[in-house]
Symmetry: C2
Subunit: 395 residues, 2 copies
C-alpha cells in the first residue's frame, strides 16, 4: 500500500479531549497489528546468517510457512523483499523471457502484475473485470490457450474481493494443462480458504506483514513440485534468482544476506495461527471480517466487492461521505484504516482484522466504525452496528 492512501494520523484529534485516551490500532489491510512478543523477538542478540544457529532458524521458518499453506510437500523461498519482490522471483524463475502470459485482474494488484510482466518484456494478454467484481472462471480459462503462465490475484486488497481461485484454476488447466498458475496470495494466505494441491496451483506468493502479522520485509514464494521442476526462467535476474535461492534454502542458507531477525520472528508470529486446524483459522478470520461488513451495512455502507474477501472489509460509505473521510475519522480515533486506492480513493474505505486481533477486538472495531460514521454526521442508529457485529461474532 503506498503512502498516498493514508490520512493524517491520530495527531488530528477529535474535539472531545478523550481522544487522547484511545489506544492506537492498526486496522489497515497490511501492515497489521503485531503481537508485542513478535516485536521483542526481533531484538534478540544479533546472530550471523552463516551459522548453524541461523540455518536452524531458516529451516524452522520454512517448515512453519509450509504448514500454514497446508502444502507440506511444496518448497518455499523466504525472500528479503516485499511480496512484490517475491512475485518477481517467481515470474522470472518460471517464465522464460518473451513468453506469453495472461494477467487476470479486477483491481490494483492484479494490474500490477501486468505492469511487471510488461517491464520484463513478456507478451502480456489480459482478462479484466471492473474493480469490485469477480473474475469469471470460464472467461479466464478461455484466454489461457497458448499461454505459458496465468498471473492472478486471489484476494484483491484494493477492492476487498476474493476470486474463486479453485474454479478458475480447474477451468484454466482443462484448457491448458501446461499452464503455470502464479498466484498472488498476499492477503489470502493464512486468511482465506486456499488449497494449493487440491486446486493444482503452481506458485503461491505472500508476505510477512499480512495474516502472518509480522513486520514487513519478507516475501514468500511457495513452489509446487511441478514448479520446482520447471525452474529456469528469464536471463535478467540476479537478486531474485529462484533456482539459486532454492539450492541455498534447502540447506537452510539464503543466497543473499537475509533479514535474519525478521525470519527468526516468524516462529513467534505464526504460533497462534498454527495452533488450530487451517479450516478453523479460516472460519474465524472470515467471521471477524463478516462482523465488520455487517457493522458497515448497519451504518448505511455497502460492500464494494460482490464476493468479499475475508482479508479486508471494503465498504462504500453512505451518500455524501467519501472513503477518505471515513479513514480520516478513524485516524482521529487512533485507528489506522485505509481509503480506496487510486482512482477509487473516494469511493470506498478498507478496514481489516488480519493482524493480531481476535473476535473481541472485532467488536471494538465495530464500535470504532460506528463512532467514526457518527462523527461524520451519517444518519446512524446508535448501537445498530455494534449489535449486528456481535450477533455475527457470537453466533
Amino acid at each position: 500500500m503506498s503512502s498516498h492512501d493514508l490520512q493524517p494520523g491520530p495527531s488530528s484529534r477529535p474535539s472531545e479531549p478523550v481522544g487522547a485516551l484511545l489506544r492506537p490500532r492498526l486496522l489497515a489491510p497490511g501492515p497489521v497489528e503485531t503481537d508485542p512478543r513478535t516485536m521483542l523477538s526481533l531484538a534478540q542478540p544479533q546472530i550471523h546468517h552463516r551459522t548453524p544457529e541461523a540455518r536452524a532458524i531458516v529451516q524452522e521458518a520454512r517448515d512453519r510457512l509450509r504448514r500454514l499453506l497446508g502444502a507440506p510437500s511444496w518448497e518455499v523461498l523466504i525472500m528479503t523483499s516485499s511480496g512484490t519482490g517475491a512475485f518477481e522471483t517467481a515470474l522470472l524463475g518460471l517464465v522464460p523471457e518473451g513468453a506469453p502470459v495472461l494477467v487476470a485482474s479486477a483491481g490494483k494488484f492484479g494490474e500490477r502484475w501486468g505492469e511487471m510482466a510488461r517491464a520484463f518484456g513478456y507478451v502480456v494478454s489480459s482478462v479484466k473485470k471492473p474493480w469490485g467484481e469477480s473474475l469469471d472462471p470460464q472467461e479466464v480459462a478461455a484466454a489461457c490457450g497458448g499461454m505459458r503462465a496465468l498471473l492472478i490475484t486471489h484476494s484483491e486488497t484494493s477492492t476487498g474481493a476474493l476470486h474463486d481461485l479453485g474454479a478458475i484454476a480447474r477451468a484454466a488447466k482443462q484448457v491448458n494443462p501446461e499452464l503455470l498458475i502464479i498466484v498472488d496470495a498476499v492477503t489470502s494466505y493464512g486468511v482465506a480458504e486456499l488449497r494449493p494441491e487440491e486446486w493444482d496451483l503452481d506458485t503461491v506468493i505472500s508476505g510477512s506483514q499480512k495474516a502472518v502479522a509480522g513486520p514487513p520485509g519478507l516475501g514468500f514464494v511457495f513452489l509446487s513440485p511441478r514448479a520446482v521442476s520447471r525452474l529456469g526462467g528469464h536471463t535478467h535476474r540476479y537478486y531474485f534468482d529462484a533456482r539459486k535461492e532454492l539450492a541455498s534454502q534447502q540447506k537452510g542458507e539464503t543466497a543473499q544476506t537475509p533479514a535474519i531477525n525478521l525470519i527468526a520472528s516468524l516462529s513467534s508470529s505464526t504460533e497462534r495461527l498454527l495452533s488450530v486446524p487451517l479450516d478453523v483459522l479460516w472460519a474465524e478470520k472470515a467471521r471477524l471480517n463478516a462482523a465488520l461488513l455487517a457493522a458497515g451495512e448497519a451504518l448505511g455502507c455497502r460492500p464494494f466487492a460482490s464476493r468479499p474477501s475475508p482479508a479486508v472489509a471494503a465498504l462504500v460509505p453512505p451518500e455524501g461521505i467519501s472513503g477518505k473521510q471515513v479513514a480520516g475519522a478513524l485516524a482521529s480515533l487512533g485507528a489506522r484504516a485505509a481509503a480506496g486506492q487510486a482512482p477509487h480513493q473516494d469511493d470506498l474505505f478498507r478496514i481489516s482484522m488480519m493482524g493480531y486481533f481476535d473476535r473481541y477486538d472485532a467488536l471494538g472495531a465495530a464500535g470504532l466504525l460506528e463512532d467514526a460514521l457518527v462523527s461524520l454526521g451519517a444518519a446512524v442508529t446508535r448501537g445498530a452496528a455494534v449489535s449486528r457485529a456481535w450477533s455475527v461474532l457470537s453466533s
Copy 2:
C-alpha cells in the same frame, strides 16, 4: 493480590478450538495490561543510579507522579517496593511508636493496615463496615478524637467500593484538626476523583501496577507540606525511612538502590494519563467501569459494592454460579480477571479496565463477559450485555 485468587490460566482452553486464537488480556485489578512501549522502555541500556542521567529520570518521574495527583506542591517518594511498602514508609515516618491510630475498613485492604499497625505496636482502634458497604463519614469522625492518625482505603479493591473520602476527611478534621490522614489510594490514584489539597489529606499512597499501568515494583508516598513538617516517626525503621528518602529524592537520588528501570518507564506509562485534564481522565475511567457493571447487570449479576469504585467492577454472579467459576471461564477465554478475596472468594468476581485499555477494549470486555456467562450456562439474552455496555460507552 495474592496468588490464591487466581484460576488456572488460558492453558485450560474451551472445547471450541477457536479459543486458541484469542489474545491474552489482563483484566485483573492489578497488575494490569501495559503499553508495549512501556515494557520496551524497561530494556534500555542499564544506567547507574548515581549519575546525572539517573537524577534527571527520578526528578521527571516525581514531577509526573505529582501532576497525576493534582497536587504539585506536595512531595513524593518513589519507593522500590509494593504499595504496602509505601504505606509502611508513610506510617513509620509519620506516627511515633505507641501512638493511637484509627483504622477505618470495609474490606481486605482496610484490614491490612490494621494488621500492619498492630505489628509495629501502635494502639489500634477500628471502625468497620461489612465488605461491600461504604464507610459512614460521621461514624469515622466520631472515632477520631485523640487519634494520631486515620488509616483509610479510598478504593477498596477487594470489594469494588469507593469510600466518600472527601466527606470522611472533612468530618474527621473537624473532630480532630491535628489528625494525620494516611490514604491507601492504590487503586484510586489516576482512576477516581481524588483531591488531596481540597480534601485536606496528609499522605496518599499508590503503586506502579494499577492506573499508572506499569509493571509492579514501585510504591509511591505522596506527602502534603504539613506531613513533611511532621516527618519523624517510629524508631524501628531502616529501609522504609521517609525522612532519609525525602532528603535524597529532593536531589533526584534515592536513599536505597532504586529499581531505576521501572522509574524510567514511568515517563512512558504516565504519558497517556497526563495528556488530558484529570477530570476528563476520571470521567473516562468511570465510564469504562460503568460499562462493565452495566454488562454484568444485563447478565444477571449485581454490583457487590453499594458505592462502586471506578477501578474495578466487583460483581455477584447469578444464583448457582460462583465468582471463581466466572474468573475460570474468563481465563479459558484468555482473560485474567479475579474471583473475590478470602473469605468472599466465591461470592463475587472482579474485572478491571484500569490498565492500557480504552472504550473499545471495554466493549470487547463486555463481549468476553457475555461469552463467559454463556459458557457457564447462565440464563443470558444474547447481545444484551454488549448492547448495554455500548450504550454506556457511546452516550
